[in-house]
């Protein structure tokens, strides 16, 4: 499994908002055990998709110097299941007024206009170059945004 939970980024505005999507396929590895004979996209992977989308917002806003890691989830509510064949559309926003060293984000995931997950969370930024080749990731971001 490639632990990449965002397929496409549709738009973003530095330090404010990013939108993207994940297509849930029947061929996903994690559906074999989640659950046997009853495939449902795991809720935590919806949360991971939101965290990765936040990473892309932090990266794109810092010219790919930083990345984001989730450290606290204040609240995350799961409203319904995402099934194979669904396209989950995500939006992550920076909550205004938070301090620079403790930025809080809100994220939402929807399928066909119905919300499936709403989360409020915070994290820390780390050097992108420390964990990935930043230039390669810049190229990958262009693939995701289809620029």
């Amino acid at each position: 499994m490639r632990y990449l939970l965002i397929d496409r980024i549709t738009d973003w505005k530095a330090d404010e908002v990013i939108r993207g999507m994940k297509n849930v396929a029947m061929s996903e590895d994690f559906l074999e055990f989640h659950f046997p004979k009853n495939p449902i996209m795991p809720g935590v992977l919806l949360l991971e998709a939101i965290a990765q989308l936040t990473g892309w917002l932090v990266a794109a806003s810092s010219d790919f110097k930083d990345w984001f890691l989730i450290t606290k989830v204040h609240k995350c509510k799961f409203y319904g299941f995402a099934f194979p064949g669904d396209r989950v559309e995500f939006e992550v926003k920076l909550i205004p007024g938070t301090e620079k060293d403790k930025i809080i984000y809100s994220g939402i995931g929807m399928v066909d206009g119905k919300k499936k997950i709403v989360a409020e969370f915070e994290g820390e930024t780390i050097s992108f170059e420390e964990i990935e080749d930043a230039n390669e990731q810049k190229r990958f971001f262009k693939l995701l945004t289809r620029e």
Binding site: Y3, F30, E32, P42, L69, I131
Partner: protein, 147 residues
């Protein structure tokens, strides 16, 4: 990818608590892409580990007559930059449970250090289940014998 984030159940007390172990190894599938220069265990995988183990305690406490799916998490803290190569102890407790839903809390420790905590988790219960099938799965996953 086998979406199972505990290796064995070490103790279970009906209606009260469960403990289990999970070894995080460098061969984990989720490390493909997380990240290429440094391997880090994703925080949401630790959330899933706590949710899976506590979920089994709820099912066990209701004699395998229902299944429990996470619907809300609150006040969660995870260490975001853990390198694999450690054995963690996962502990979950039921705070309250009814026919309809359950409330619980969980944590993960490595030796005496807490690396993740989940102070509030709510599960919705689903009653359309086959108890024999659930028992078989629990026995295989946990290493415990029910019958």
């Amino acid at each position: 990818m086998r979406f199972l984030f505990y290796d064995a159940v070490t103790n279970i007390e009906k209606g009260k608590s469960i403990t289990g172990v999970k070894s995080f190894s460098l061969s984990e599938e989720f490390l493909r892409g997380h990240y290429s220069k440094i391997a880090m265990v994703p925080g949401v995988i630790m959330i899933e580990a706590m949710a899976q183990l506590l979920g089994w305690l709820i099912i066990y406490s209701h004699d395998f007559r229902l299944t429990a799916i996470m619907s809300l998490i609150e006040d969660v803290t995870v260490i975001s930059n853990l390198r694999p190569g450690f054995r963690a102890e996962i502990r979950g407790e039921i705070v309250s449970t009814s026919r309809r839903d359950s409330l619980g809390m969980a944590s993960i420790c490595v030796e005496d250090k807490c690396i993740a905590s989940l102070n509030r988790i709510i599960y919705s219960h689903f009653h359309d289940v086959q108890p024999e099938e659930l028992i078989k799965r629990f026995e295989y996953y946990s290493g415990w014998k029910i019958q």
